[in-house]
Symmetry: D2
Subunit: 360 residues, 4 copies
């Protein structure tokens, strides 16, 4: 079967670089279009990620994939979506608002930008969590008269939370979720992101707009698809989001009140037996385990656990009963914010959409 | 009025050093007895805090107070409590179990060790929070037939939490408290404490026994003194305690369900108008403000706020309504774990006991 | 004696904030003019250092001095230097090039900007190191026909190095200096300075232009004033400047080849007996010791030693003979880059200039 | 060809764990003996690296190699060296002094301990740097009447320095080397190593005995093998070794005075064209490049460069002429202290010894 011709918009930025790594050697998607601002246009990619002095400006731990280095960078203005089967968008929200509807009208767009997340006709898909929401994509196409679509990734802090809540919701029901996050620096990007003077020997207790996103997106992801769209999950979600001096990997301290009583063994079993519902799909980027649960109380730690299964597995630990809440449990999770929480997660989503016959 | 003759047991350790700093220039307490293991006995203090090579081993930010440097260190075995009016104990829990009852039988002992915290006849006093619990000291003396007593400081993570809960409890009642702490390295001490390899670029999600202490001690501090002793506060307290790469200052993310509805302005007023009940006591170590509330959402930060009023003020920020809980509010606090949460807090307690006529 | 009317240009920036702290309660200089961009003009200073949301944007460890908070900020365009006796400039180099000659023509300007450092008629004065260079100020006035002058502070990495080299040069002569710096984040400022993602778990081995500055300025500071100007010191200076994850305090590893043999005791005596040549000047900002020498091999450490005497003392340790060099010695120094190395150092310079009768 | 039966002594410690990772899947060496203290004896390895609570105590970034998890741990007292062809020793220096001669008398021992480094009949072999020193191994066997031998790895700070000096020595000769190291935390181990309270926001300017080791070992490694043993290189080496807050990867700032003039291009060519002299040996652990030279002045950085070629390549940058020295050059290097500088380097050495016919 021929690979899908794939483009990344915003290919020279940090998230764009993550997409290149995530797509290197991909068995289904052939990355052929690297789109960036006109400043880089026409240059081979290897030059487009160098600064004026010729130094490489590469911000991902893995090295730049050699197979993409000679591809010429296409200016956004010259980009023709019709030449591709699949478009990944890694641009900032303002630009996303402008270009994603334009490209989505013609071709499938999977994006890490937040612009579309709140639209009624747009699902927030985490494959393995809300597979059925994919049907809303067809509705988006019908309503808007589009040949393509736009599917956004959730906020990176939401992803790990929603993944751990899903098995609890399925087996026991959820009444209430209270979460405090200890988020990594990479979530803030590099323009300028968090400066060293502010975070050394410190915690920053506020990340603008983050709490609202986590609360709203968690309810949408775990909501029910109805004829009218997605009805958000009815349980309350409340959170406080902080920044700590960690490179990658968001840590979240979660308190949950369940609808029904559950022993710790039952909760642990719910996590460990969780079935992503992939059947025989064999998605190339899906991790062998969706959730790992540690019994060692000193785990999970972001540095030790963020890269589990290439950063695609959510790692849970410190599972305890919480007598302070009705049917309460509490735990700590670590989720890789720039892998499962960003570009690699978007690639997984595209793989899932492909299996659903949505990529043409 | 003559100053009280004061001794510090464990004077060469980290907490002991903090006591020296807290007692330097104290208007009521004259530190005259520096007690340590027999290894240091007889040496002047300035030598006892040097290692074999002659290098100073001083672990407090402030320099060693010059007035104590020539005091000879007394071996624990040679220590005669009768020569002092007041004893501060800065020893480890195991040793505390053995010596504190012995010395407490004769003289007032205020201690940072945990050994006595759970006893029925022992209050956990935070001056300004549970002033009336001081009456239990007389009961301890009566029951045990002691001339002195033992009053322990609460766990350092508990202190900031209890201080912020007190005005909420008084004005609105409390139903439920859920807290996630981001604790500083200094709370783990130096033997060996947290090693750099474990905490750099990391969070450690577990501090042994800490959560139980915070839950139990918070309820005791905010409990009601009855004829039978202290009846613990009835609201539930649940917490997850983590370690982050910060030197000093515990950060705590708190979710509270109140008994009665309260607007944010009312809650803020409760914090800002909080009266420590000191009247005209003029305790030398008491901060001018017990609580500071920031409107800037980026505060409190441990590096910026821990030293407010010499580390004796608890700093609150990010105050928000929490619709997920009944009458819910949430906030973040920073409290200095080695100042108000340890030696300086113990000195404040002793000052308060002195005003109550308990120091002879 | 009336205090000198003093202005700070760039008063709302980080270095400007440092000047306010350095001038708070100053016995000779009355800070009356706070000059900033037109955006802040007319506002009281307390508002000019708040952002759109009303939050304080204050980047110095000490709190904002209350006595300056109600002063109105003057727009640079409206600033009349004739209303002041002394001007401190804390602006960026590009702006300094334009405005400092204009103001220096009329009034004394002491600046932390680098624009004037290389001019032949401009001394780089470190009071206590090259006091006689002050004569060049009169020459600058004569040559340029100015009533005022411009005197720049050296680069912050140069200051500590020059201070430690001076006693060696005086007593033993210097042939060669090789230095590797481990510089703090605050030296890079906040626009954006060093971002957390780049420096966590890392060292950055390059600081643009820094090595050239240190080499050139050290030779100028330790040079000889002649009829033609300053003849740079003849010894070679070579350095490698790196950035480490430290908030404040530059650490420098120095290897020196002396002209004449010296025992370690003689070198140590040279440091400890160093006479800043202030006689009875009683400069308010001068530290009681210019240099502190530690015998403890684990010192100096930036966190423990940077604040010695308010950050005005250079702290030396690890003094060893270096048999690899002719008459070799090696040592490590720590110098506070934003205190002695910036605003407080500039205030000290102004105090010295005042004693020389140069401030009118 | 049959693989060599291999044992690791000290297999449960940090360095032992690194050996397991380095030997996983090794094509020549079959790790069959895991030797540790009697406390672990008889347990399968998977249990021996768990603590009392059952939690894994694994301190290497790579996961424990599954193929070794079921091997039973042998008590040191029960270890029979005759059952193995090759022994790696990862024990502390004191124990090494006692057991390494005992085992070396019977079998080849390659060790990371320092006990043997200074002996006249013992080479410090870095394959690719001083291949000819291997002949001294036969002399050691002859002199001591041993069937085996002991070959120690150099100190981890020495390794990177010696590797970069070798091509300079060969092409231009060396007169003088001055080095300042910025060493990673992992070099200090975990017992307790460097505690977080000491290194956060700090630099520690002293590492006991380190400077002497680097100076002495560099001269030995780059010395000349004569009939009497190794004549140390005659150039002087002087260094100052510091600790910075970095997990892995030692950074070294090096100043070199060459015997003969060399342009920067010639020096760069010497690094880039360096031939390790392996011919067709195809050592499994040897990196494809011994040295990588960056032109980007912001490299090398320990976090970005330490893992180049699995941590086996020394990365150089900031190459500059140094006019302060005769024929001076200066540069910065990064070398992975726990890979090339420890267990993986020892495996490389054993591979080289095997090719020389020394492993029986």
């Amino acid at each position: 079967m021929a690979k899908l011709r794939t483009a990344v918009i915003g290919a020279t930025g940090v998230v764009g670089q993550q997409f290149l790594v995530a797509l290197s050697g991909h068995p289904w998607f052939a990355l052929e279009g690297l789109v960036a601002s006109s400043r880089s246009a026409g240059k081979p990619y290897r030059e487009a990620v160098r600064d004026g002095s010729g130094a490489l400006r590469w911000h991902v731990a893995e090295p730049p994939p050699p197979e993409f280095l000679d591809l010429p960078v296409v200016a956004l203005d010259d980009f023709n979506p019709e030449q591709y089967d699949l478009i990944f968008s890694a641009v900032e929200s303002d630009l996303a608002k402008e270009i994603e509807p334009r490209f989505g009208a013609i071709r499938p767009v999977v994006t890490t930008a937040s612009a579309f997340r709140t639209f009624d006709d747009t699902p927030l898909i985490i494959p393995g969590v809300n597979n059925d929401h994919v049907q809303l994509v067809r509705r988006q196409q019908a309503v808007r008269g589009w040949k393509g679509f736009v599917v956004p990734q959730p906020n990176c802090t939401t992803t790990g939370l929603a993944i751990t809540l899903k098995p609890l919701l399925d087996r026991f029901g959820i009444r209430l979720v209270l979460m405090t996050s200890l988020q990594a620096l990479s979530g803030a990007g590099r323009s300028p992101g968090v400066i060293g003077l502010d975070i050394l020997d410190n915690v920053i207790p506020y990340i603008p707009n983050e709490e609202e996103k986590v609360q709203r997106e968690t309810q949408k992801i775990l909501g029910v698809l109805t004829a009218e769209g997605i009805e958000p999950a009815r349980f309350a979600v409340s959170c406080t989001c902080t920044r700590v001096n960690v490179l990658d990997g968001h840590t979240e301290s979660v308190f949950v009140s369940l609808d029904r009583p559950a022993t710790l063994d039952e909760v642990k079993a719910a996590f460990r037996e969780y079935d992503a519902g992939f059947g025989s799909l064999r998605l190339p980027t899906a991790p062998p385990e969706y959730l790992v649960v540690h019994d060692d109380p000193f785990r999970p730690q972001p540095r030790l656990d963020r890269d589990t299964n290439g950063g695609m597995t959510t790692v849970v630990g410190r599972l305890r009963a919480d007598p302070a809440l009705d049917n309460g449990v509490k735990y700590v999770l670590v989720s890789h914010n720039t892998k499962m929480g960003a570009a690699r997660g978007a690639v997984l989503t595209a793989e899932f959409l492909s299996c659903q016959g949505l990529l043409g």
